[in-house]
């Protein structure tokens, strides 16, 4: 007798399996990025003054004299044991540095996304329900302007306005005033950790430091979400079942939120995948503008000194994070899709 697995659980399981080839592809590409492209890591590690013999010595030490498949297996072994190599600029293992810096990036990205969803979705819904009203024009303006704004430029403009001119924001340097000590890491999110530590002054400072970078990133992700919400709502509102619901005399609220929005939210969730891709990239730029101590600024510092292991670890971490976010989106999609509920 077959065990009855709920269809949703089965769908989620299948989706988890589909992530496997993506992860395999990511591992292969990150491996190829450093090993097969022109540019010899051994020369970098040996330094500018090295002669042929010492370069060959280092090449052997790094295992670069072996064949590509052998090197790949070694790389897989390293990955399995969590060894991402050692950063040449700081001398620390790359994995440790990424883990200590990741919460800063995550806090920034997540707050920014929440912020941008909280603004973009209502904006898109309002624009779709009131076509050609001022809010529709506002939505169109935001959508067109939003995709043209370079993130680093928005960030600098906000710094100039709110730090230099108005003096409302703290200087764009890191996550906390130097007056406060970083809280004991529990979640790594300063907003939460400072509350746990009972230091509400520090929470306020962390919030003040977070607002500008988060708004910068949110402005960037606002446009695609608002555009998709508006388009999806327009499409759903024009469909037959909405006309039926209206004809049946359901209240405007019930039609809008009970039927239209629940269906329109699906394509929006799908777009979020692409939005995450942009957001993680833009995150790097925002971190540089605000000297935010996340993995993005770590990667930029590593790029400047050609620190291979660190850059490779960063690319790998970002890609895995992206896969994880996409998986989460797909699982949410499966859970909220009203069409799937009928099959239960």
């Amino acid at each position: 007798m077959a065990i009855a697995i709920p269809p949703k659980a089965r769908l989620i399981g299948r989706r988890l399996l589909q992530a496997a080839p993506a992860i395999a592809g990511i591992v292969i590409i990150t491996f190829l990025l450093t090993r097969a492209l022109p540019g010899d890591p051994a020369v970098y590690f040996a330094g500018p003054a090295a002669d042929e013999a010492s370069i060959a010595e280092i090449r052997k030490q790094l295992g670069l004299d072996r064949s590509l498949p052998v090197q790949f297996l070694a790389y897989l072994g390293d990955l399995a044991t969590g060894n991402l190599g050692t950063s040449i600029s700081t001398g620390q293992p790359v994995l440790t540095e990424l883990i200590t810096r990741l919460p800063a990036s995550l806090e920034l990205t997540l707050i920014a996304l929440l912020l941008s969803i909280a603004v973009a979705v209502p904006l898109g819904v309002l624009a779709a329900t009131r076509p050609d009203s001022w809010i529709d024009h506002l939505c169109r303006f935001v959508v067109t302007a939003g995709v043209s704004l370079p993130t680093f430029f928005t960030g600098l403009a906000l710094v100039y306005l709110f730090y230099y001119l108005l003096g409302w924001a703290p200087p764009p340097m890191g996550r906390l005033d130097i007056l406060y000590l970083p809280p004991d890491p529990v979640t790594g999110f300063y907003l939460i950790d400072t509350v746990i530590a009972g230091d509400l002054q520090a929470t306020l400072s962390a919030l003040q430091h977070l607002i500008l970078p988060a708004v910068t990133l949110a402005l960037f992700t606002l446009a695609p979400i608002a555009r998709m919400t508006r388009a999806a709502m327009l499409q759903v509102l024009a469909s037959d079942f909405i006309r039926t619901a209206r004809a049946a005399g359901l209240s405007r609220r019930k039609v809008l939120f009970g039927y239209a929005f629940r269906n329109a939210v699906l394509p929006v969730i799908t777009t979020l995948g692409m939005v995450f891709s942009f957001a993680l990239g833009a995150n790097v730029l925002v971190e540089k503008v605000f000297a935010w101590p996340g993995i993005g600024s770590y990667a930029i510092e590593a790029l400047v000194v050609s620190d291979y292991a660190a850059v490779q670890g960063f690319v790998l971490a970002m890609a895995l994070l992206f896969v994880a976010l996409n998986l989460t989106i797909d699982i949410i999609y499966t859970l909220v899709d009203p069409r799937l509920r009928l099959e239960d």
Binding site: P150, Y160, Y164, V284, F322
Partner: protein, 294 residues
């Protein structure tokens, strides 16, 4: 019964295209503005070095960090270089990087996508899998990784930008070729003895070009943003070469002390360029495909 008039000659069709072009420009002033801006950027890119009042690389310690004035429209930077001249001269480099990247990406992407869409089967699966792998990365991060690994040069910035744009073209070409694969004119071309590749290149592909043109324009803005983002974090272009991204990065150090013009003007030029290409894309969409208007 079909009369002769139903089959317009190429000349009359071209005429109607220009009439439609004028009609779209007239009915949508925004598109007309976008075309005007586009011509301005092309002029700056072609003739920039001869148009500007100062040498973009000439330093002048005596007049460093001056705010915008009549002699320096956009002010001067920390080395006394004229920001206006630098912004105008940078147009050529910024546009060349993105044009080269988009052209490469378009050529490779449409070839791969067309083959996948035409032959289907394992070709389609292999191409699809490769594109999925590219898309599994946050694209800007992938570009950073490629430039870091392949070497910090402008050529590599172009290759990296081309690669991250590739999936968009390939997917679009695949879809466009796929819907035309079985259409009447394709079967007619095959029956007249054309080879598969010839049918694909001479009959199907030209028909899928119009929607691809829209994609090119929209992607161009994105390519400019990406290239500028890469140079903002110190990849590709090296100082003192004038380029918008690196100029914003240099100006960023002076924002906190109030010298806003260093970062504002190159940033605004960048924004305007991206905005132009996005508007142009929307305009082109109206031009080639009135049904898909937003």
């Amino acid at each position: 019964m079909a009369s002769i008039a139903d089959h317009p000659t190429p000349a009359s069709r071209r005429n109607s295209f220009w009439r439609h072009f004028r009609y779209v420009l007239a009915s949508n002033p925004v598109t007309a503005v976008a075309f005007a801006l586009f011509m301005m950027f092309v002029t700056a890119a072609l003739f920039g070095p001869w148009l500007v009042p100062y040498d973009p690389l000439a330093t002048d310690g005596a007049s460093a960090l001056q705010p915008p004035s009549w002699s320096h429209w956009f002010g001067t930077d920390h080395l006394g270089r004229d920001v206006f001249s630098r912004v105008v001269v940078a147009t050529r480099l910024d546009l060349s990087i993105s044009v080269a990247a988009v052209a490469l990406s378009f050529a490779a992407g449409s070839a791969l996508g067309s083959l996948a869409g035409y032959y289907g089967g394992w070709t389609d699966r292999v191409v699809g899998r490769c594109l999925d792998t590219i898309m599994a990365f946050p694209l800007f991060v992938l570009a950073m990784g490629i430039v870091a690994a392949a070497g910090n040069t402008i050529e590599n910035v172009i290759y990296a930008t081309a690669l991250i744009n590739l999936p968009f073209y390939a997917r679009m070409a695949r879809a466009e070729v796929n819907v035309r694969r079985e259409s009447g004119f394709v079967q007619a071309a095959k029956l007249s003895g054309n080879s598969d590749l010839r049918v694909l290149a001479m009959h199907i592909f030209p028909n899928s070009l119009p929607p691809m043109m829209v994609q090119i324009s929209l992607n161009m803005g994105w390519a400019i943003l990406n290239a500028a983002g890469l140079s903002f974090i110190g990849l590709g272009v090296r100082p003192p070469t004038p380029e918008w991204g690196i100029m914003v990065a240099e100006g960023a150090n002076f924002i906190v002390s109030g010298e806003w013009w260093l970062a504002l003007f190159p940033g605004a030029a960048l924004m305007l360029a991206v905005f132009t290409f996005n508007l142009l894309g929307d305009g082109l969409r109206d031009l080639v495909d009135p049904l898909r208007r937003t």
